[in-house]
């Protein structure tokens, strides 16, 4: 089907409609059908391997048992957790005998003392033995503790983001094809970005814990390095895609490349940069709550400890705190963005 053929046929038979002379593509081709079939077979195999069939059956069972048909271990598991999670634990109890320099006349705010008796059956004397212990109850002590940990977590996320931005800005300069000083540096910068993205922060946190010990440093480094891979790439792509017109105009006036970057590119990319940083900050806050599980500071460490001790009342307080914080911060950053950009 070459062009001349097409044109001659049109000249010869004047009443040919366009649809006959022009080759139209079929919306559904045999190739597409084969492709879709192959994909569904592959997905089917994979579904079994990843237990999607079991997930479906169990979920069905769970819904059934909600309506009274049979039993479901999914529902049992959920009920088990929910039953133990309430009431939320807000108070902190400390046995007075364990507190050194205890002064009953100088209690913390809202705190009170409580005497608890525990009985124990002594098999030798065949009598109940009664122990009495005095507890210092701080009704909102645990809540305060969680709030403090949450603040740590947010700080980890913020510093992680600051680290990430300060790594990403220079990376972006080298990783933007149109501004990179050399091709080698361009490839190196892109490779660093990919590498940082490729190493999950939960895993790099493990190594940073080995290097810097338990605590926030490991979390900050893990978040900073991982997300600098994203930001570096996003920033660089944004520079590459910036409208070339103003850049051309400024370089025509004789401005140097750095000046062009500052005056013709930066103003164009700033709104997007803010959007990216906002997203990364939100993501880091969510991630920082989890990082503590591997010992990298923040509320995750508390969560892991309580979970391992089956203190589900404490766990649910923590979960609620995380949920509320994430929601609140998302609104806050959105509000900030709307206000300043």
């Amino acid at each position: 089907m070459t062009k001349p053929e097409k044109f001659t046929s049109r000249e010869n038979s004047g009443e040919d409609t366009i649809a006959e002379t022009w080759r139209l593509r079929q919306p559904i081709s045999a190739k597409l059908i084969v492709f879709l079939l192959a994909i569904s077979v592959l997905l089917g195999l994979s579904a079994h391997r990843s237990q999607m069939d079991r997930a479906f059956m169990e979920t069905l069972g769970a819904v059934g048992s909600l309506f009274g048909w049979g039993e479901s271990r999914v529902i049992k598991g959920a009920a088990n957790f929910i039953g133990k999670s309430f009431p939320l634990v807000l108070e902190e109890r400390t046995e007075v005998s364990r507190i050194s320099d205890f002064d009953p006349n100088d209690l913390p705010m809202f705190a009170y003392l409580k005497i608890e008796e525990t009985r124990e059956y002594d098999t030798e004397t065949e009598a109940w033995k009664i122990y009495s212990s005095q507890w210092l109850i701080n009704p909102y002590g645990y809540l305060w503790r969680v709030i403090g940990k949450m603040a740590d977590t947010i700080e980890i996320a913020i510093w992680g983001t600051i680290l990430s931005v300060s790594l990403a800005l220079p990376l972006a300069f080298f990783a933007a094809k149109n501004y990179s000083p050399s091709k080698i540096l361009y490839h190196v910068a892109r490779a660093i970005c990919s590498f940082n993205r490729a190493v999950p922060d939960l895993i790099s946190a493990l190594f940073f814990v080995l290097m810097y010990g338990f605590g926030p440093i490991a979390g900050i480094l893990a978040l900073g390095f991982h997300t600098s891979g994203f930001l570096g790439k996003f920033f660089a792509d944004e520079i590459e895609n910036a409208d070339p017109g103003p850049q051309l105009a400024l370089s025509c006036t004789g401005a140097s490349r750095l000046q062009v970057l500052r005056f013709a590119v930066l103003p164009q990319v700033v709104p997007q940069y803010f959007a990216y940083v906002q997203y990364i900050l939100e993501r880091n806050i969510r991630m920082a709550t989890v990082l503590g599980i591997v010992g990298a500071g923040g509320i995750g460490m508390e969560l892991k400890g309580r979970w391992d001790m089956f203190n589900f009342g404490h766990v649910s307080t923590i979960l609620l705190a995380i949920l509320l914080t994430v929601l609140a911060l998302e609104h806050l950053t959105q509000w900030l963005r709307a206000k300043f950009i």
Binding site: C252, Q259, F263
Partner: protein, 267 residues
Amino acid sequence: MFEFHSVGKVFDDGTVAVDGVDLRVRRGEFCVLLGPSGSGKSTLLGMVNGLITPTSGSVSHDGTPLVDLNIGEIRCKMGMIHQQLHLVPRLSVLGNVLSGALPAVSLWRSLLGLFPIDFMRKACNLLQEVDLDADHLYRRASTLSGGQQQRVAIARAFMLDPEIVLADEPVASLDPANSRMVLQLLKGTSRRHNASVLCSLHHLELAMEFADRVVALCKGKVIYEGPPSGLTRELLDRIYGVGLNGKSAPADAALTPRMETLTAVSA
């Protein structure tokens, strides 16, 4: 001054965009490039500010070929105004005008956006010259109308007291009234600053009205050079194709000999 010595440009794909152009832009004149689409106007302008290097002949400044000069230095001696406005949309009007002076500002000052006060004054004066007032100073360029944006671009082009201002279809995206005003401001400003203007235009009437000298291009060759009054009907037909109705362009064979005699006459 800027001079073209039998300048030619053949693009990598074999397109002959400019072919043996001799041209001298005199100090302070308003020189208009005319010619149909694809006749090489943009290419010619691009060769002055070094965006495009000629494949034959040379462009020279005060007798020295541009290739022997520092491109950054030579660019400080010229301003450029583009058809698509090319202001930085999110930068303020003042910022846009100041950015025309970047080569004269030290790097650290420019990176911090701290322009010397003299430049600020100059920017304000220029904005006044193009009929923009203090209210516009800190407005984002993107919030201005097309005509206002082009006036800002004019102010930017004059920041470094250029010898020549290159304008590639500066009014192509404006309505007639705005076009006239922008050209008036461009001409007036260039007069006051004793700068020449090399400007490509599509509008014949505007060219007739504003040009001190017209250079008409056709297929990369100069076929007329002289005052606008010398543009006869017959010449226009040759430039834009017979009848100006866009239906039929004259065959190459018929046009080329006449064109050659014309260039010979004008040279």
